[in-house]
């Protein structure tokens, strides 16, 4: 069997690809819509005729045309099987090999079937006039018929992970387009995605990922260098997948189930085709896009992108990526070039630390385990207290038990801990996009992305981080010319840094941009009525005004060093996880935001105080200082209640006993303790009887009976087994938002 001449082979390939694309959008219930297919098949016929194709190929096309002419109920699924067979058969023909067997469950090939004339009057061509590829978007149903919620969720979760790998990888490829390892990573990610999509019968995604995979495969083999165009195509393809997954997730949650969404699929697929069919622009390494140097390869921390995808985790269906569906497209090799059998990508070599395999666990189970371990630790300390008397043997056994429980607790906590990498990874893309859009040059340096913290904390911190990084890229970093004029390097730098410090996780977002101008912040705050004109504020207080609600609105952002928009939201989010945000800045030199976060939401460090014999826990992060007040520091102002002078400022003081209605609380403040609480920029003192100590406590919910009715954030089991209530400090402090700026007379 002679192989086809080169141009015919190309034409067949191109036709098959277009047919594949049409099949992806084929609506099985509306055969009339198959008009474009009915136009493409005759072209295939003609090409075969001109290239003396094997009889079976010709017959296959004729058979397909007969299905289209008289559509039966299952013509769409028949065509779904027909297309991969055709691709295989054409490959075989190109290699002068043996044609694959005709799928057994399809009606037999019948060369006799006379194809209907491709006349305009043919009933099937009347459906759609505009071919799909000319449409900018295509309405797509995201949940396939007969979807299983569990599998679909797994698919979405894994797709999200793969998308991250892809995005990270592509950003690296932008600067190092030939980096073999990264190319392989991105290729594998698309390959896995495609396999998963095939298993889930998400034909649309399968088509799209197949095309992108082909493009990356070409790059991986060196037959094409990824230029700007190709990278953009891959990114927009990834965006479509992300859009799809987001919609699927939302529909899985029961929102507008069955809705179709418009996706720019045809545009992307066409773009990929155009790139693949253009003469190979080999070896011309692309210049980095103007403005961005994302994740420079010289920054060792930036090498995350080359971490292998989570391929070792089970794919949603354990039959493997490509099995289980006859809709699977052929291996990418077929689409790229007639090179002998592309090996399925080998399992990536990975650092030993990561190769121990993993199991997906339902997070509620994990939470349950952590709760139990927390209880075990407390029960254990109660036993230790009860057994404090004497018996040496018992004491030794108990010490051993304590060692085990401590280890157990650490292990259980570690299970919830994930690297902050996920939250950091999206920033590369974000900075790139902003920089390209605004014509700025911005370098993003990421450090400490292996820092681990509770996944709930990461979820909560993710949005605030996006906000701050976008602010920095958008407003803080000056345009290159302005920077040059100011004697700074043209390329601005944004640094994201995460590290552990004293039981907290600290995330810093810093930039070397304009910096904040305290005088202007103050002026703006006075103008907006946030502070009185005569307020005495130190620099730190002034800078923190940018977190005040209503400080800045969208139109102000550019006059005031571009900060402030939404920062109150950032602060609220961070406070919700019992963290806090601080800001430091030097005009002209840059700004640094520091977010302090608890390692986990399950445990906090608390200051235990007592009032009238009852004990309460105050989260340490909310405590600025505590002291025994001297008589001269106290004052009562008519209509304002009691005030305490703290470092030259008079802060309102609340007697906790009175506030909570506790009898027997210390009435004389000079014999009690003043605890200065802060929430953002606001401060307030509370008077307690005494400080009992500091303790790490496991936070327990108070239960629905108390929700929203008490001034407590939760409860904790104290060392003696009793329940201590955890004060919800933020509403407590905010009781007097305005009065804290009372000036010391």
């Amino acid at each position: 069997m002679p192989p086809p001449p080169e141009p015919a082979s190309d034409a067949v390939r191109s036709l098959l690809r277009r047919i594949g694309l049409e099949l992806a959008f084929l609506d099985a219930t509306a055969p009339a819509a198959a008009g474009t297919l009915a136009e493409l098949l005759p072209s295939l016929d003609e090409t075969f005729a001109g290239a003396s194709a094997p009889a079976d190929l010709v017959a296959a096309v004729a058979t397909a045309r007969s299905w289209l002419a008289l559509p039966s109920a299952d013509f769409a699924s028949r065509l779904g099987q027909w297309h991969p067979w055709m691709e295989e058969a054409v490959t075989a023909w190109e290699r002068s090999g043996v044609l694959p067997d005709w799928p057994a469950d399809l009606p037999p090939l019948s060369a006799q079937t006379s194809p209907p004339p491709p006349a305009a009057g043919s009933p099937v061509t009347t459906g759609r006039t505009a071919p799909a590829r000319e449409l900018p978007t295509q309405d797509v149903t995201v949940l396939p018929a007969g979807w299983e919620p569990e599998l679909m969720r797994l698919f979405c979760a894994e797709a999200a992970e793969l998308l991250q790998d892809i995005e990270q990888g592509v950003l690296v490829l932008e600067t190092a387009p030939t980096d073999a390892e990264t190319l392989a990573t991105v290729f594998r990610a698309f390959h896995t995605l495609k396999g998963n999509a095939a298993v889930m019968k998400l034909v649309v995604l399968q088509r799209l990922t197949h095309e992108l995979e082909s493009l990356l495969d070409a790059a991986r083999r060196g037959s094409r260098v990824l230029d700007r165009d190709a990278i953009d195509a891959v990114l927009s393809g990834a965006d479509i997948v992300a859009q799809y997954v987001a919609e699927a997730n939302s529909q899985l949650d029961g929102r507008e189930t069955g809705r179709t969404i418009p996706l720019a699929l045809p545009a992307v697929i066409d773009r990929v085709h155009a790139i693949l069919s253009s003469p190979a622009a080999a070896a011309a390494p692309l210049a980095p896009p103007p403005g961005t140097v994302p994740l420079p390869a010289t920054t060792p921390r930036a090498s995350v992108a080359v971490l292998p995808p989570p391929a070792s985790t089970p794919t949603p269906v354990n039959t493997g990526p490509d099995s289980g569906s006859r809709l699977s497209p052929p291996e990418p090799s077929a689409a790229a070039a007639p090179v002998p059998a592309a090996p399925v990508p080998a399992a990536p070599a990975r650092p030993a630390a990561l190769s121990t395999g993993s199991v997906r666990v339902d997070t509620t189970r994990l939470d349950g385990l952590l709760d139990l371990v927390g209880e075990l630790v407390i029960a254990q300390s109660m036993v230790v207290q009860a057994a404090a008397s004497g018996d040496e043997h018992l004491t030794r056994s108990l010490a051993q038990l304590r060692g085990i429980t401590t280890d157990l607790q650490r292990t259980a906590m570690a299970m919830r801990m994930v690297p902050i990498r996920g939250a950091f990874q999206k920033m590369g893309r974000l900075v790139r996009d902003v920089a390209v859009q605004l014509g700025k040059e911005i370098r993003l340096i990421v450090e400490g992305e292996e820092t681990e913290l509770d996944r709930t904390v990461i979820e909560e911190i993710s949005d605030p981080l996006v906000h701050m990084v976008r602010n920095a890229a958008d407003h803080a970093i000056e345009p290159p010319d302005v920077r040059e004029a100011a004697g700074k390097p043209r390329t601005g730098t944004i640094t994201l840094r995460a590290f552990h410090q004293g039981g907290f996780v600290i995330v810093q977002v810093s930039d070397d941009g304009r910096g904040l101008d305290p005088a202007r912040i103050r002026a703006k705050a006075v103008e907006r009525g946030i502070v009185p004109a005569d307020a005495v504020l130190d620099t730190r207080d002034t800078l923190e005004l940018i977190f005040a609600p209503g400080f800045s609105t969208a139109e102000q952002i550019s006059d005031l060093s571009g900060r402030g928009v939404g920062l109150d939201v950032v602060q609220r989010n961070v406070e919700r996880i019992r963290g806090k945000v601080e800001v430091e800045s030097a005009p002209g030199a840059g700004t640094m935001f520091t977010i302090f976060m608890p390692l986990t939401l399950a445990i906090i460090e608390g200051l235990v105080v007592s009032v009238g014999g009852q004990r309460f826990v105050i989260p340490t992060l909310a405590v600025r200082e505590s002291f025994r007040p001297k008589a001269e520091a106290l004052a009562t102002v008519h209509g304002r209640g009691e005030l305490v002078a703290v470092r030259g400022q008079r802060l309102p003081m609340m007697r906790l006993g009175q506030h909570l209605g506790i009898e027997g609380a210390q009435a004389d403040p000079t014999r009690g303790i003043v605890v200065v609480l802060e929430a953002g920029n606001d401060r307030r003192c509370i008077l307690v009887d005494e400080l009992v100590g500091k303790q790490e406590v496991v936070i327990k919910p108070l239960g629905e009976m108390f929700t929203g009715r008490t001034p407590f954030a939760g409860a904790a089991i104290l060392g003696d087994g009793r329940v201590g209530l955890i004060l919800d400090t933020i509403p407590l402090v905010r009781l007097s938002r305005r009065s804290h700026t009372e000036t010391a007379a």
Partner: protein, 175 residues
């Protein structure tokens, strides 16, 4: 006395009491009963942490093996005499339906637990009309026993009255 056939309870009241095992306990010299299936355990009185801003019948929270559980004083809720705690005072830990689905623990202070009795259909009379003197919202029936009469109450309805949002009676109706 004729056997009582299960009737559809009034729309706002709790379900009428079903035959079965009941735990009886004393509240200020009167005997009350709750279905034993709703009871998780009975524990000795332990230190209760009061919670500010709650109505007076909510005594506070206790630590039950690491769980924080609300404790309610039914004597206060039912308007009965509340004497000082004594050595028979104990806490009955029950479980009731949580608003979000599932169950939640709900503990009540009682003046002593009596016994577990098995009540037949014939032992149960429908809730009487006290003429408004006693809150009958929580009463599912009266049980006649050799030693006297005990009032059967629906802890679900009691707990629901404490819910974060004032709900109407629960719909734990069984045919």
């Amino acid at each position: 006395m004729t056997a009582i056939t299960p009737t559809i309870p009034p729309a706002h009241g709790p379900a009428s009491a079903q035959p079965g095992k009941y735990l009886t306990f004393v509240l200020s010299s009167q005997v009350y009963g709750v279905p034993v299936l709703a009871v998780r355990e009975i524990i000795r009185l332990c230190p209760i942490t009061p919670v500010a801003n709650m109505p007076p019948h909510v005594r506070g929270v206790i630590n039950l093996r690491g769980r924080v559980i609300p404790v309610v004083d039914l004597r206060v809720q039912f308007g009965l005499f509340v004497g000082p705690d004594h050595d028979r005072t104990c806490i009955v830990v029950a479980q009731v339906a949580a608003t979000a689905g599932g169950v939640r623990p709900y503990a009540v202070v009682v003046d002593g637990v009596e016994e577990v009795v098995t009540l037949a259909v014939a032992d149960i009379a429908p809730p009487p009309d006290f003429g408004g003197a006693v809150d009958t919202r929580f009463i599912t029936g009266l049980a006649r026993r050799d030693v006297g009469v005990s009032t059967l109450i629906d802890l679900e309805a009691v707990a629901a009255a404490d819910g974060p949002s004032e709900k109407s009676a629960p719909s734990s109706l069984s045919p």
